[in-house]
């Protein structure tokens, strides 16, 4: 039965001494470990095909018919399809990132994460990467079906830049989700309500279903706070290069804003997590399931 005790360390002091390389490798493994359930759920829970593709497609369709009834430029149809696809990322960030620590606490996972020998940022990063993989497949499906059904034509002159902007958008977007994960837990018990609170206003401010420029001065607020809105505006400019509709800012500027947002949100997430852990240990109310 020696299999129980397979460590090579001779005593706990020796077992606790980890090299910097081992710390890094362990944290990377934790990222992969936490991403795994999200990625595997693609195959395990086929209900997402209905809830995550068919229902968003219906929402996109409603706006398509409105624009067609109003004789809006055909590019608007493409805008809506792209916006509909990006909605999946926002919902993923709100429900499966921001609210996640709350559910993890309820399940008793949070205290196991706290006591495991990895940084909680690795858990958040794993959640983000898993969510990104999961949601990308859904977003691609919405774009594919929406484009096919409504005959959307794209004019992509810089495909690599478009892909780069997409990836760059994901960093501050999921960084924001990582920040919210700690804040939701700190702010209160009703993560469900907080998530709902963030949903509808972002549909409006993010310019999901219309060109962001249409909201006038409010677009400035979006440019300063919402990575989804900034990224979507830049991607629309790159995906519909021949469109007559202008973006709020040039793509280069928006790329700079996204990069800055990425740094800000990731640093803020790290700080919020540190504060959360301090509070959890000091107040004793965040890791206990019944409180």
């Amino acid at each position: 039965m020696s299999r129980y005790g397979s460590t090579t360390a001779k005593n706990p002091r020796e077992a606790a001494e980890w090299s910097a390389g081992r710390v890094i490798r362990s944290n990377l493994r934790a990222v992969v470990g936490r991403a795994y359930p999200r990625v595997i759920s693609l195959a395990r829970e086929p209900s997402w095909l209905f809830f995550e593709i068919f229902l968003p497609f219906l929402a996109v369709s409603a706006f398509v018919f409105v624009y067609r009834a109003l004789d809006a430029p055909e590019d608007f149809i493409g805008f809506v399809v792209l916006g509909g696809a990006m909605t999946a990322f926002w919902l993923n960030v709100v429900w499966m990132m921001a609210a996640q620590f709350y559910w993890e606490k309820d399940q008793g996972n949070l205290e196991l994460y706290f006591t495991a020998p990895m940084h909680l940022m690795s858990i958040l990063a794993g959640m983000a990467i898993g969510g990104l993989v999961l949601t990308s497949s859904r977003a691609l499906a919405v774009i594919g079906i929406g484009s096919l059904v409504y005959g959307v034509t794209y004019d992509v002159q810089q495909p690599f830049l478009l892909a780069g902007v997409y990836l760059l958008t994901m960093i501050p977007l999921y960084g924001m989700g990582m920040l919210f994960a700690s804040l939701f837990l700190l702010w209160g018990r009703e993560a469900f309500h907080l998530a709902e609170l963030l949903q509808e206003p972002i549909y409006f401010l993010g310019g999901i279903n219309f060109p962001l420029r249409a909201i006038g001065p409010l677009a400035g607020v979006v440019m300063a706070t919402l990575p989804l809105g900034v990224g979507l505006d830049a991607m629309r400019q790159l995906a519909f290069a021949d469109s007559g509709v202008q973006g709020v800012l040039p793509v280069g500027t928006e790329v700079g804003i996204l990069a800055a947002m990425g740094v800000v949100f990731l640093v803020a997430a790290r700080m919020a997590l540190g504060y959360l852990e301090l509070l959890a240990r000091r107040e004793g109310r965040l890791t206990l399931r019944w409180q």
Binding site: R29, G108, P117
Partner: protein, 340 residues
């Protein structure tokens, strides 16, 4: 430092903010658990057991006092402590229901820093050891409560912890599942010497079966500490024997025994005789100042025509110890939930 205690606590206090008044969950606990020792914290809900475990597992800061696990301070050396400990709680629902047993354990192995291949190997070993081979590809959400707790136990073993915390591990389990889990814990003790266990429970049998030493705690304080035998001796100054005779002694009956030197009391407990209604058998509970008085009792009953048909020494249970120390049983509990 080979003699360093696995767990060392001095004056550990934990006060929770609460309305209308703060609640003191731990009131200055002093404790040393040696490496390789299996140590039990026995007490009702609200005693402060879980609070102490949360401090030792770095989940909570003590309000006052100091505590070390494996020689590392729980306030300033949390990263090192987390590399050598693990924790399993009763009723734990950790992980994700859509994963299989095997996948779930592998996921946790990644959190504990095991390399991918090493993680899978360890997972398969622990699945076999804990008897979950039949459920290895079953989704976690379909496991029974007992299987689920075996899975949690296997999770707790993944990183081969030097100090394992089991917080009410058999809570809610049926008799067979609880026995299985206790057997796994004992096998771990045999297979991995030098590992330390801190168990909290309010099951007396569990504490007695698993632990080398036990601390009885209530309302945030350690009331008594020692081996199970030492604790029992605290409440039993005298020796108590249950004596079964084929008939009552002639010439004085039970009073003859009660009057013998060294005999403190002798009472009939006939209801304990299985076939008492069909024979003259009698059962007596005899309290002696010490075991040496037993000889005179046996001689006295023989001289008066009775024959000894049964003799057993009565041991007080840990529950007796608890009642003696606390003045109430486990059934009369406060809710720890409200305190911690």
């Amino acid at each position: 430092m080979p003699d360093e205690p696995a767990i060392h606590a001095r004056g550990v206090t934990r006060v929770y903010k609460a309305k209308p008044d703060p609640v003191t969950a731990l009131g200055g606990v002093d404790l040393d658990v040696q490496s390789g020792e299996y140590f039990g914290l026995l007490g009702p809900n609200g005693a402060g057991k879980t609070t102490l475990i949360k401090i030792l597992t770095t989940l909570l800061l003590p309000t006052a006092g100091t505590a070390k696990v494996a020689g590392f301070d729980v306030v300033t050396e949390t990263a090192k402590i987390r590399r050598v400990i693990n924790m399993v709680s009763g009723g734990e629902q950790s992980g994700y229901g859509l994963l299989t047993t095997r996948e779930q354990l592998w996921m946790f192995s990644q959190f504990y820093g095991l390399a991918n291949r090493q993680g899978w190997r360890k997972v398969d070993e622990l699945i076999e050891i804990t008897g979950l081979t039949g459920q290895k590809d079953q989704k976690v959400r379909t496991l029974s409560t007992g299987q689920r707790q075996k899975l949690n136990f296997a999770r707790g073993m993944l990183n081969d912890p030097w100090v394992l915390f089991l917080d009410e591990p058999t809570l809610g389990l049926d008799v067979a599942a609880a026995r299985d889990l206790r057997e796994h814990t004992l096998s771990w003790k045999a297979a991995a010497p030098g590992r330390t266990l801190l168990l909290t429970t309010h099951y007396m049998v569990e504490a007695e079966q698993l632990c080398d030493r036990i601390a009885i705690v209530d309302r945030g304080k350690i009331l008594a500490l020692g081996t199970p035998a030492e604790l029992r001796r605290r409440v039993q100054a005298e020796s108590i024997f249950r004596i079964e005779l084929d008939r009552l002694p002639h010439n004085g009956g039970i009073n003859v025994i009660g009057d013998l030197p060294g005999v403190l009391s002798a009472v009939r407990v006939d209801e304990e005789v299985a076939d008492g209604a069909a024979s003259d058998r009698v059962a007596l509970k005899v309290a002696l100042a010490d075991d040496s008085a037993l000889t005179s009792v046996v001689t006295a009953v023989a001289e008066r025509g009775s024959h000894l048909v049964g003799l057993a020494k009565s041991e007080p249970s840990l529950e007796d110890v608890f009642v003696e120390l606390v003045g109430r049983g486990f059934g009369d509990e406060d809710g720890e939930e409200s305190a911690s």
